[in-house]
């Protein structure tokens, strides 16, 4: 799976790491829905660490469509709420 971290670049993530990413993603969704700022920040940090640590970085010269796009690493809780609330399912 090709994952882009906005403002950073693309990574290729495969195998077990994807399951783990899915688990972290659910936790992040729960934290955001519950208005849990600390929880969101923690989960988001873990998601980024997982992708950077277990994924392999694609060179900037390789133009591939991403399967998944992550917000910029310095996205705040408020920005995340705003970003995700645009999706047609009530989060706030």
């Amino acid at each position: 799976m090709i994952i882009r971290i906005l403002t950073e670049g693309q990574y290729r993530l495969e195998g077990e790491a994807l399951g783990e990413l899915d688990r972290l993603d659910d936790k992040m969704l729960d934290a955001l829905a519950a208005g849990d700022r600390k929880g969101y920040e923690e989960q988001f940090r873990e998601v980024l660490a997982l992708i950077r640590g277990r994924g392999s970085r694609l060179p900037d010269t390789e133009l591939v469509e991403s399967d998944l796009i992550l917000p910029a690493p310095d996205t705040t809780f408020e920005e995340a709420c705003k970003l995700f609330s645009e999706y047609p399912r009530n989060l706030l």
């Binding site: 882009r4 906005l6 403002t7 670049g9 990413l21 899915d22 993603d25 659910d26 992040m28 969704l29 955001l32 998601v47 900037d60 010269t61 390789e62 133009l63 591939v64 469509e65 991403s66 399967d67 998944l68 796009i69 992550l70 917000p71 910029a72 310095d74 970003l83 995700f84 645009e86 999706y87 399912r89």
Partner: protein, 233 residues
């Protein structure tokens, strides 16, 4: 995937809207680069403004120190002439100037902090602009290649992602810089209007009185010192 797939959906929806409006990505890249250079210039100007404000305050400090020296000389002369009353007045003025000096030094320290922060933003932005310049050329070449091959599929989508990503990175750097500039401008305004100086004056009457008493003790001590110096102590 929950949240992350949402993010991807939103991003892609926005991107396709942007792409519809963009006829020539190469022109967009050049325009974006120009905007970044302008932004960098404006940060540099702002940094220069902060440095100028600091210099103004530093000159003020030099002037006040000169006045202090003059007042001390006057106090010494007054004592030599046996006019202790005049010496006390001169030393009182000197003490008042000292309080102004303390306030100014505090402000200079504040401006130094702002200067350091702005310099950090400038360096960051400079690096980003430099990286963008290189990336811009690569992207332009790739776009031309994709166009030549009439390959609209994956490469074009990847390219548009890159474009959107790069412009987002710059937008974030700009937002952060704007915040910094606003803060620096606010400090400048406070310095110019004298509010910052007022704010340093204690509002509490007790504290004010203690300060005055402190200044009076200082005046007395200096009077004694000068008396000894001129041999009248």
């Amino acid at each position: 995937m929950g949240l992350l797939s949402r993010m991807s959906t939103i991003f892609k929806a926005k991107m396709s809207k942007i792409l519809d409006q963009v006829e020539n990505p190469q022109e967009t890249l050049e325009y974006s680069y120009k905007r970044q250079l302008e932004m960098l210039q404006s940060v540099k100007r702002n940094l220069a403004d902060v440095v100028a404000s600091k210099k103004r305050l530093e000159l003020q400090v030099i002037k006040l120190k000169d006045s202090q020296k003059k007042l001390e000389d006057q106090a010494r002369k007054a004592l030599e002439l046996g006019r202790e009353d005049l010496a006390v007045t001169a030393l009182e003025r000197k003490a008042a100037i000292q309080q102004q000096l303390d306030g100014l030094e505090e402000q200079i320290k504040g401006l130094e902090t702002e200067q350091a922060k702005l310099a950090a933003v400038e360096a960051k932005l400079q690096a980003k602009v430099e990286a963008f310049r290189t990336k811009k050329e690569i992207l332009k070449a790739q776009y031309s290649a994709a166009q030549a091959q009439v390959k609209i599929g994956e490469a074009a989508t990847g390219l548009s992602e890159e474009l959107a990503d790069v412009s987002l990175a710059i937008q974030r750097a700009e937002e952060k810089t704007e915040q910094m500039r606003a803060r620096a401008a606010a400090i400048d305004e406070l310095v110019n209007s004298g509010i910052l100086e007022d704010a340093l004056e204690p509002a509490d009457p007790l504290e004010r009185e203690l300060r005055q008493a402190g200044a009076a003790t200082q005046v007395q001590a200096e009077l004694e010192r000068l008396k000894k110096e001129v041999g009248k102590g």
